[in-house]
């Protein structure tokens, strides 16, 4: 028995190699590059108040990017996520107004409605075995129509009536849409929600059985089922997580502005997916991280506001975004190959 034949699974890998094999590496590098770039390109970018605006933009996107990243690790899409945010805000606002209820009742009803839609998505997916692309495309269109149709039917116009003077509004505003002043600079509370969600999702992914299930379901659903992973429950749970994120974002929208525009949210679902992909999620599932999605959202926030600070023509914004997506994905791909080759 010689000491040279240690089992390869017990071999110590260097810290460097460990870092290289992290899915969020590409996004972190990208975020640093974008930050340095705009620090030089835009003189007002480094002000604390500017950074607070950047963080706010990143957080409103990031709150949705976290559950969408989990869902993508689980191997599925949700194209209804963008309008679901609007649906959630509408449900809350219209229930409170029409029932003349304390707005917290509306907030709670909205949570049930939104989670219900999440369950519907998951249930349709697991029952019909159709691709999630098709199922959620259906829900996306149905929700877009419902948002407009129901709002017009109930409120008479295409936006909801203001609930700013109703009971519970100010306390709900404190929870979902207030500002916290640190050293004279105002930070939006959504940043806290975002960080909390990232921490929670990371803990679930890396430290719990549910996390293992998510990776297993996304890696190979049939194999996961064969070894006893509750595949159906995991998938439905993931859609409920997206719905939960949509609920927080929706309540933020409502309590920031007191009114909701029924036609908004279309197109945002793709931005969430982009943030998750930049953050290292594989489109085929089974790989990715929640922290990565946070850096993906941060890159978005920095680019969208950096272009304004740098006085560039905003017409080009989408082009930069697309280029960034391709670069980040290529970088991820390259890093992963290198990491696997040196194992």
């Amino acid at each position: 028995m010689s000491t040279a034949t240690v089992d390869e699974r017990l071999l110590r890998t260097s810290v460097w190699k460990k870092l290289l094999s992290r899915p969020e590496l590409g996004a972190v590098m990208g975020a640093v590059a974008v930050f340095v770039f705009f620090s030089f390109a835009a003189d007002s970018f480094l002000r604390m108040s500017s950074l607070s605006t950047v963080l706010y933009a990143a957080s409103t996107l990031g709150i949705m990017a976290v559950p969408v990243a989990l869902l993508m690790i689980g191997g599925e899409f949700d194209l209804s996520a963008g309008v679901l945010v609007t649906s959630s805000a509408l449900a809350s606002s219209m229930f409170s107004y029409q029932m003349t209820a304390n707005v917290w009742v509306g907030v709670f009803v909205s949570l049930l409605v939104t989670l219900g839609i999440g369950i519907f998505n998951g249930f349709m997916l697991t029952r019909t075995q159709l691709p999630s692309f098709i199922v959620t495309l259906g829900t996306f269109l149905m929700l877009t129509g419902l948002n407009l149709g129901l709002t017009k039917l109930i409120s008479g116009t295409v936006q909801t009536k203001s609930i700013a003077d109703m009971e519970g509004f100010s306390s709900a505003q404190t929870v979902f849409a207030s500002e916290i002043s640190i050293g004279g600079v105002n930070f939006k509370i959504t940043i806290l929600w975002w960080l909390a969600l990232v921490a929670l999702a990371t803990w679930i992914l890396l430290r719990t059985r549910w996390g293992n299930w998510i990776f297993a379901v996304g890696g190979n659903g049939d194999a996961a089922r064969a070894v006893g992973v509750p595949v159906t429950k995991t998938r439905i749970g993931l859609y409920m997580a997206v719905a939960f994120g949509a609920w927080i974002s929706g309540q933020h929208l409502l309590f920031s502005f007191a009114r909701v525009q029924s036609g908004e949210g279309v197109g945002n679902e793709l931005i969430y997916i982009v943030a998750a992909v930049i953050g290292g999620c594989l489109i085929t599932g089974g790989y990715g991280s929640a922290i990565g999605s946070a850096f993906g959202a941060l890159i978005f926030g920095m680019v969208s506001k950096g272009i304004v600070f740098a006085e560039w023509n905003a017409d080009w914004y989408k082009f930069f975004l697309g280029a960034m997506l391709l670069l980040a994905t290529l970088l991820n791909h390259w890093v992963r190959k290198r990491a696997e080759a040196t194992k």
Partner: protein
């Protein structure tokens, strides 16, 4: 004969095209010098426009023209989602610009950042939409068209023309201003007016929607569209349906001016977008320079201006250079 053939083969056109456009631009830019010696202030404009909207291009060209004259560094950004528009305004406040021009299409969403601008001591002028909220939110002036008044003007014009049954085509579901236009027209029109919703991002759908309605109800003698590009679709739909209805439209562009001349359209209602951009920048400059405020706390109206066949000839030239 040989010369014509030669020109055709080499593919040159002696009229129109890029060359004519460049010549127009060169003559316009020749005069592009500041007329004042005030410091170079930075003014930013944030609108609720979608990507690539021709209306907002005209607003911008008005603002840029005034910016050149007033020695202003003019910045422009837009987003059709309320939250994003508010964030853009906040970015410019962070950037400490010297003046802000904002549209209040979704006023509740802009309330917070308007207050922030006030706190930061940045003067704000609202344009286009938000005449009701502008003063309350602390803006210096509002420059735009009251959508309801514009609609009422249309209703009156329709009555004057002896129309009986009109169709108001809304191309953007969820736009409050559009609803107000049709409601205003309904109020003053003596005949019957119905609303029709179509998907403005999908032209074939617009055409098919109007066509189907005209076929279903042959009593409709007028179609009103709320944007210039949709008037063209309405004319095509009318032909397909074999209807004799008159097509009238809100807003103006080159094709509408031509159409008015050719009597394809009855009349157009213009809100003079160029003026909204130009005046906003100029009034901010006046405020910075001389603390002048226009409007006396009431909206400064840039419309409605009813344009018929008579005016179309002169306006055609201006639409071609992108200022009307």
């Amino acid at each position: 004969m040989a010369a014509v053939l030669g020109a055709t083969i080499t593919g040159c056109s002696s009229t129109g095209g890029k060359r004519a456009e460049d010549a127009r631009k060169a003559s316009a830019e020749a005069q592009g010098k500041a007329a004042v010696n005030t410091p170079r202030w930075t003014f930013a404009m944030v609108t609720h426009s979608g990507d690539g909207d021709s209306f907002w291009d005209i607003v911008q060209s008005g603002a840029r023209q005034a910016a050149v004259k007033d020695n202003i560094n003019f910045l422009y950004a837009h987003d059709d989602q309320a939250q994003q528009q508010a964030q853009l305004v906040q970015s410019y406040i962070d950037k400490k610009v010297d003046g802000l021009i904002v549209t209040l299409a979704k006023p509740d969403a802009m309330k917070g950042v308007m207050a922030n601008a006030k706190k930061a001591g940045i003067p704000v002028i609202t344009v286009n939409s938000g005449s009701a909220e502008s003063k309350e939110f602390g803006a210096l002036s509002h420059i735009g068209q009251d959508e309801e008044i514009a609609g009422e003007a249309v209703g009156e014009e329709l009555t004057k023309r002896g129309r009986k049954k009109a169709l108001c085509v809304l191309h953007e579901q969820g736009n409050v201003g559009h609803e107000q236009r049709c409601a205003g027209a309904k109020k003053t029109f003596k005949g019957d007016l119905q609303n029709l919703y179509v998907d403005g991002t999908n032209m074939p759908d617009v055409q098919a929607g109007i066509g189907a309605k005209l076929q279903a109800d042959s009593a409709i003698d007028t179609v009103i569209t709320l944007g210039a590009p949709f008037a063209d679709a309405a004319v095509k739909a009318k032909k397909d349906a074999g209807s004799e209805a008159e097509v009238d439209t809100f807003d103006l562009n080159e094709d509408v001016a031509r159409g008015l001349q050719a009597k394809t359209y009855g009349f157009a209602v213009d809100q003079q977008p160029y003026l909204q951009g130009y005046e906003a920048v100029d009034l901010l400059w006046l405020y910075r320079y001389n603390a002048n405020v226009l409007g006396g706390g009431r909206p400064v109206l840039t419309g409605p201006q009813i344009i018929t066949e008579k005016d179309a000839g002169a306006l055609l030239e201006y639409t071609q250079r992108g200022t009307r």
